[in-house]
């Protein structure tokens, strides 16, 4: 309950000179307690706007926001708590480290405002700086730190007053790729260890998948899907989500019948394939099925053909470090498959591939990617 953020029917429109942008369109969302929820979506979909509305830095047009048990903004009740009274912590994309203060000054600031006794401030700042591995940097001017260190100062500052919930707006986007990866791990273990509620905004899908307990996918001011990273990546039925997260092969198919309640037999360019599907499709219905490149395997050549096996020709091959990325032409379609690099392959080879029925999903008709 403590750090649960609940947003109801939130709408926010930006009106500038010639255009109006509906940044949030009737968004409803409840975040899990003491877990990390990520808002993920393409640029301009309203993630930052939603986060800033929750923080109180932006005021919505209508709807309601509560943090814990307290309503912090409501059109109908006429409530609008300023950011300083919402009990949150926030890490900004630019870190917003105060350049005229030392590391200690930056981190102690939220406690100084709360009139915490001096002795206690020192103890708590020391503790939190230990946690983010910045002990010894207390008296360094905050601007004289590296990007990664600044990011940790920002984190320490957001954590020090023990907020109900902590908000992150693309906190890693200003770091270089290598540092981003390690910081990602660090951040995740921090947050899980402290069992703190966090809302995390990013447009980087890998970041979202690795760091979150749950992901909410946004598009055009609307939340289109919500679930665990596994759900989102492997079991989504939303074409936009499938396309946005990772890479996918989309194939046109026709339903032939059902093998059991959740698995249909469809015919497509790969031949007849068993795939997981919504259970109410009549035979003859046209559907789109999708597969992830990494779910293909080279079929063992010795054994007799299994279910979901097909043969294709390698038309293009890319060595991508840990795997081959092969473009394979089969039945007039081209699919992308990520294959283990120790299997010798070259352009023009014929190859037999297999895909598990669970990793091959039919999308309900009528939804457009």
């Amino acid at each position: 309950m403590q750090g649960m953020v609940s947003v109801k029917n939130l709408t926010k429109t930006f009106v500038s000179k010639e255009e109006t942008v509906k940044a949030l369109n009737n968004v409803t969302l409840t975040t899990p307690n003491n877990r990390i929820l990520t808002l993920l979506g393409p640029s301009g979909c309203g993630k930052t706007t939603l986060l800033r509305c929750i923080a109180g830095l932006e005021s919505p047009d209508s709807g309601e926001i509560s943090i814990g048990d307290e309503i912090v903004w409501s059109k109908t009740h006429g409530i609008s708590l300023p950011p300083e009274r919402r009990g949150i912590g926030m890490v900004f994309q630019s870190y917003a480290i105060w350049p005229h203060m030392t590391v200690f000054g930056n981190v102690a600031y939220p406690l100084q405002i709360r009139k915490t006794p001096k002795q206690e401030i020192e103890e708590r700042v020391k503790k939190i700086l230990d946690l983010v591995q910045l002990s010894g940097f207390e008296n360094r001017l905050a601007t004289k730190l590296s990007g990664g260190q600044q990011q940790r100062v920002a984190l320490a500052r957001a954590l020090v007053a023990e907020p109900k919930v902590i908000l992150f707006d693309e906190p890693l986007s200003n770091l270089d790729a290598k540092l981003r990866e390690s910081t990602r791990q660090e951040l995740r273990s921090f947050l899980t260890e402290l069992a703190i509620s966090a809302i995390y905004v990013t447009h980087d899908q890998v970041e979202a998948l690795t760091i979150s307990d749950e992901i909410a996918i946004m598009r055009g001011g609307v939340i289109v899907e919500r679930g665990t990273p596994q759900d989102i990546y492997l079991r989504s039925n939303n074409p936009f989500v499938v396309d946005f997260i990772g890479r996918a092969n989309f194939l046109e198919a026709t339903v032939k019948g059902y093998q059991d309640e959740n698995h249909a037999i469809v015919s497509c360019a790969l031949g007849d394939i068993v795939c997981s599907a919504p259970s109410d499709l009549a035979p003859g219905t046209g559907v789109t099925i999708y597969t992830r490149p990494e779910s293909f395997e080279v079929a063992p050549s010795s054994s007799s053909p299994m279910e979901n096996e097909f043969e294709g020709t390698v038309t293009d091959l890319l060595f991508a470090g840990e795997a081959h990325e092969a473009e394979i032409s089969v039945g007039g379609a081209r699919i992308l498959a990520k294959l283990k690099f120790h299997i010798p392959l070259k352009k023009g080879d014929k190859v037999r591939l297999h895909i598990d029925r669970e990793w091959c999903r039919a999308l309900a008709p009528g939804e457009e990617a």
């Binding site: 930052t48 923080a55 109180g56 830095l57 300023p82 950011p83 300083e84 009274r85 919402r86 949150i88 912590g89 926030m90 900004f92 994309q93 630019s94 917003a96 480290i97 105060w98 350049p99 005229h100 600031y109 939220p110 405002i113 709360r114 601007t143 920002a154 500052r157 957001a158 007053a161 908000l167 707006d169 693309e170 986007s173 200003n174």
Partner: protein, 562 residues
């Protein structure tokens, strides 16, 4: 290729250092030598009498005190006002924002002498129009305001410095990363606490820099101290120097130099402080491209009241002085608008002014100085700016510091330095002497905008044109000139307008035959001929306006000459 380039440029740098050095350091050296000399006709005959005389002068302590109060007063007034205006226009949702980009700069068009003259006719204690008006309404025995006071001087000079403080603070406001404030709010701080602990401390170096610049300018200012301070017997250092060389039988240029040197030293120290503070404040610039979204502070109910306050300020700065001048120019003496006043209006002041051979000569001289002087100054600035930006050598760095240093030199003091110099040459008491002094004194104002114009032209642009077969000169013509033209024209306009309203250098160097408009206006004001002051002043403003318009017409075809 490379060798030819450096062979071409090396003598250029040398020549420029010589010319710029002579124009900026030359007068300073002459000032020092002069201060140790027995007299203007006896240059080099060593004596320290001038220092003894200058620094044992019984009026000096009072003058110093006045100077301190005046400069600090002006700087505080203009910095606070400029800061407020910049804040409102950059950070808030004040209506008609576009207007704010123009309004604070417009007063630059009005010469300081005229600004002072207009307010004197409004607020002088005996017959200032506003005073008379208020006296009638409230049945007072005397006018409530006295412009001939330190307060009056601070009021006028502070307003005149406003455009500058506004222009210096605005960039700091623009580049202020508003997420720094947001981070404070979400940390639990109120607006007031955030202002006190975050916003103001981060802006402090910018404010201090502005304050320092305003001190430099008011220390050098001569128009207001001479128009208001002299009649009011409130002397500051510039007018003190002026009195030494203009009042009494034998002007003592040695004593003037001895006093002038401390002003110069103070100005140099201040300008270094200014540079340090500007560097400091740019350290705090933390704007990052991504995720940066300036938030607009909503003024709410205060929105329109604040806007009208700004408009009122603009009236004080431009509308009221201009209207007063126009009105005064038709009247024989100052009187509150009434039926009688209207019946007495005539063109007599205009006739008198235009029939007076001295004022007509002053007019011609001023136009000549503006057009020819600005052209020469800009030509020289072009070379200097080019060398500073494109040639990275010790020589060019030296040029840069020279141009930066002389930026702080007070015109009145440098005028005295030029006096010592020009007397030794046939240029003395000729219009060319004035021209040289103008160019030398105001060179940094030409170099600065051109330097930034050059910086915008990418080196690669120039080089790529040469790779494609253009010669160096052709590259200059095809690439550099069209890109540079707008900057050059703006710099020319700025310089020409500055030369038209130049007072401090001219007050020292102008002689019968080389009269200029501002000095004549000052003389007319001394004689209390406010009607003629107004008429001549309007002609002068008209001249600057014509210059601006003509130059602007040129701007269009030049910048499209691709």
């Amino acid at each position: 290729m490379l060798e030819r380039k450096s062979a071409l440029r090396f003598p250029l740098v040398g020549i420029l250092i010589l010319v710029v050095g002579a124009l900026t350091v030359g007068p300073v050296v002459m000032l020092v030598v002069g201060s140790f000399s027995e007299g203007i006709g006896a240059l080099g005959k060593f004596t320290i009498d001038k220092y003894v005389a200058a620094y044992t002068d019984p009026v000096l302590p009072k003058t110093l005190l006045n100077t301190v109060i005046f400069t600090i007063g002006c700087a505080s007034f203009s910095t606070i006002l400029g800061g407020l205006l910049a804040y409102l226009s950059v950070r808030t949702d004040i209506p008609f924002k576009g207007l704010f980009r123009v309004l604070p700069v417009v007063p630059m068009m009005i010469p300081h002498v005229l600004f002072a003259a207009a307010w004197i006719t409004l607020l002088n204690p005996t017959n200032g129009m506003l005073n008379l008006f208020l006296r009638n309404i409230f049945k007072l025995s005397s006018g409530p305001f006295n412009i001939y006071s330190l307060g009056g001087m601070i009021f006028l000079e502070g307003m005149l410095d406003l455009p500058v403080t506004y222009l210096v603070i605005s960039p700091a406001m623009y580049s202020f990363d508003t997420t720094l404030e947001e981070a404070s709010w979400v940390s639990g701080a109120s607006n007031l606490y955030t202002l006190r602990r975050i916003t103001l401390p981060i802006l402090r170096p910018a404010f201090l820099a502005t304050f320092t610049l305003a001190i430099i300018r008011s220390l050098a200012s001569f128009a207001v101290p001479s128009m208001v301070g002299l009649p009011g017997r409130i002397h500051v250092l510039t007018t003190h120097v002026y009195r030494i060389i203009s009042i009494g039988w034998s002007p003592d240029y040695g004593r003037a130099a001895a006093i002038g040197l401390i002003v110069l030293v103070a100005a140099i120290i201040l300008v270094y402080l200014y540079r340090y503070l500007i560097a400091e404040s740019s350290q705090y610039v933390t704007v990052t491209g991504k995720g940066y979204r300036p938030t607009v502070v909503e003024l709410g109910r205060a929105r329109y009241p604040l806007f009208f306050l700004c408009i009122l300020l603009f009236c004080f700065l431009v509308v009221i002085p201009l209207a007063t001048l126009v009105y005064m120019s038709f009247l024989p003496y100052s009187m509150v608008p009434s039926a009688r006043a209207i019946s007495m209006m005539s063109l007599r002041n205009w006739h008198t002014v235009l029939a007076n051979p001295i004022t007509v000569r002053a007019l011609k001289n001023s136009v000549f100085l503006a057009v020819v002087g600005a052209s020469l100054a800009i030509l020289l600035s072009l070379f200097v700016a080019y060398v500073i930006v494109k040639v990275r050598s010790r020589g060019s760095a030296f040029l840069e510091s020279l141009s930066f240093l002389s930026f702080s030199f007070p015109g009145m003091i440098i005028g005295v330095g030029f006096m010592w110099f020009l007397v030794q040459t046939p240029l003395y008491a000729t219009i060319w002497g004035l021209l040289v002094a103008y160019v030398g004194t105001y060179l940094p104002y030409g170099i600065r905008p051109l330097r930034s114009a050059f910086m915008q032209i990418d080196q690669e642009l120039e080089e790529s044109a040469r790779v494609f077969g253009a010669s160096f000169l052709q590259a200059l013509k095809d690439i550099v000139v069209p890109l540079l033209a707008p900057g050059v024209i703006s710099a020319w306009i700025l310089t020409a307008c500055m030369f038209i309203r130049e007072l401090s250098v001219s007050a020292v160097l102008s002689r019968p035959g080389t009269e200029v408009l501002t000095v004549e206006i000052m003389k007319l004001a001394n004689d209390g001929l406010w009607g003629q002051v107004a008429a001549l002043g309007i002609i002068m403003i008209g001249l600057s306006t014509v210059l601006v318009l003509v130059a602007n017409l040129l701007r269009v075809p030049l910048s499209h000459a691709e």
